[in-house]
């Protein structure tokens, strides 16, 4: 039982990061129909901004604010500079553009900051643990889960209770008709990128707290996991992306725990095999209705 509690906490904690990233990715995907491969770089830029604040000797609380603000601003800037000029371009064009942007950002960090990993120490309370029953739960895990829950609740209130939020939900369902009823396209798209940046910024703080370093390619693996989460949940569904992110996190943790030591390094392969199986039976994703059902 203790082991189960422990693994559930691990799964929720890892899934939180994936869910935050998957939600940002899904928001842009649903509204613009583009997979933003540079989404991982929003996480990276948030982490580097945090590093910059650390180097300036600013306290941790300020570093967190700087990371969030920088990632949010980077999201808005990314749309304005790179994607708005390509508005209306085909799926492949946008996909390649986002790949290119990802490469440019990574290489700029290598060239102008450092090609190596840089240490970014975080306060020691992240390493503290509490014991619940027999399970050991780290403060980092608790903070990650609590912050993710708060962010998701806050976002949900924004989306459902404000006119601008409703406009975003409408745009995610049918962008053309949303514009037709008066939802301003540019503002909705900029807001979607800003929010996805903020969510990535939050994920970057957890990532830094977990590994204690920043590196130019640190956004790559999480964005792939987030993309898988988005697909599991159902492309176009924001709730689906969050659920998919948690499911993928849970799969990874479950295989890590269940596989014998010799096979442990194959955990990602087993997780992906199960994802393929899920998509075989529900190609539209878990929370998305099939085209013929709609």
């Amino acid at each position: 039982m203790t082991e189960v509690v422990q693994q559930v906490v691990n799964a929720l904690s890892l899934g939180s990061t994936y869910a935050l990233l998957a939600l940002g990715l899904a928001m842009v995907l649903a509204i613009l129909g583009m997979v933003n491969f540079a989404h991982g770089e929003l996480l990276t830029l948030g982490a580097y901004a945090m590093y910059g604040a650390y180097k300036l000797g600013l306290p941790f609380g300020v570093q967190v604010v700087v990371a969030l603000a920088a990632a949010g601003a980077a999201g808005v800037a990314m749309e304005r500079v790179a994607f708005r000029p390509l508005r209306g371009a085909g799926f492949a064009t946008l996909l390649f553009a986002s790949f290119a942007l990802s490469v440019v950002i990574q290489n700029s960090l290598r060239a102008f900051v450092s090609p190596r990993q840089l240490a970014l120490p975080v306060p020691s309370f992240f390493d503290d643990v509490i014991h619940v029953g027999g399970a050991t739960i780290g403060w980092l895990q608790i903070i990650t889960m609590a912050s993710t829950a708060l962010a998701l609740i806050g976002l949900s209130i924004f989306l459902r209770r404000t006119t601008q939020g409703l406009g975003m939900l409408a745009a995610a369902q049918d962008f053309q008709i949303a514009r037709l009823v008066g939802v301003p396209a540019n503002r909705v798209i900029a807001t979607a990128f800003g929010i996805s940046g903020l969510l990535a910024g939050l994920a970057s703080i957890f990532d830094v707290a977990r590994v204690g370093t920043v590196s130019p390619s640190m956004g790559f693996q999480p964005v792939i996991a987030a993309l898988i989460g988005t697909v599991i949940g159902g492309v176009g569904s924001l709730t689906g992306a969050v659920v998919g992110g948690f499911i993928y996190g849970a799969l990874q943790v479950a295989f890590d725990a269940a596989l014998p030591t010799g096979l442990a390094s194959y955990a990602p392969a087993f997780s992906l095999a199960l994802v393929i199986a899920i998509l075989y039976f529900r190609p539209q994703g878990i929370l998305q209705q099939a085209a013929e059902e709609r």
Partner: protein, 242 residues
């Protein structure tokens, strides 16, 4: 809810090399209900799309009273007093009836105006009041059509464009919808009704335009069009062309 004059001059729409609408000109007087009839692929929906800015016009101009709509983005067109109830209804399926209506009221000045307008729309469609907290995707086809029209009315338009409001609905529901359109028109709303259900459309329209392969092939009072135009041949001809 006063109607405005709608004027379209020399409108052309192309998709690549395919011309969907060719130099179409027509107008509606303030408070007039005109019908646009024609077979599938005649260019009716493209014409509406170009009026509201969803489809770029290759040539031509669109005016509502003294306001030139050509080149305007859709979100500005609706603020200029033109709203569209689109083909296939296209309600926001995962949002509730109330949320769909609130979104339709985006061009209105404030929350108070939106609430007042929702009350007004629910007076027109009492059925929607009963379903106000239901997801639009769970409504019947007829209810979705009411919602699509209600959502368009939320913007308090001067010109209402309707694309195939009878499509896929039971005759009894079609009757209700058309009765409502007649009422809205009697209250002074300018309306452009695109329909394949020619008889129903001509019954409530004052004038009609017949579109064939992107051109206006016939125009006149609804009675004239009904009488003089061989609509069956028109449709069969278009069928044969496809």
């Amino acid at each position: 809810m006063g109607g405005a004059a709608l004027k379209v001059e020399g409108l052309s729409v192309s998709y690549g090399n395919v011309a969907a609408v060719r130099e179409v000109s027509f107008h509606a007087e303030p408070g007039e209900l005109i019908a646009f009839v024609g077979a599938n692929g005649a260019g009716k929906t493209s014409t509406l799309g170009a009026i509201v800015g969803l489809v770029p016009a290759a040539a031509g101009e669109v005016w509502v009273d003294d306001v030139r709509l050509s080149g305007m983005r859709p979100e500005r067109v609706v603020r200029s007093g033109v709203a569209l109830s689109p083909e296939g209804r296209r309600v926001f399926a995962r949002l509730t009836v109330e949320e769909n209506l609130r979104l339709g009221g985006m061009p209105l000045a404030d929350r108070g105006a939106v609430s007042a307008k929702i009350a007004e729309v629910l007076e027109l469609f009492p059925r929607l009041r009963e379903r106000i907290h239901v997801s639009a995707g769970d409504l019947s086809g007829g209810e979705q059509q009411m919602l699509a029209i209600g959502r368009a009315l939320m913007a308090d338009p001067q010109v209402l464009l309707l694309d195939e409001p009878s499509l896929g609905l039971a005759p009894r529901i079609v009757e209700q919808i058309f009765e409502l359109l007649r009422r809205l028109n009697q209250e002074g709303m300018t309306m452009l009704l695109v329909e394949q259900n020619v008889a129903a459309a001509l019954e409530i329209a004052s004038r009609a335009y017949v579109l064939v392969q992107g051109r206006i092939a016939a125009a006149g009072s609804a009675a004239e069009v009904m009488e003089k135009t061989d609509l069956a041949a028109l449709y069969l001809g278009s069928e044969a062309d496809r």
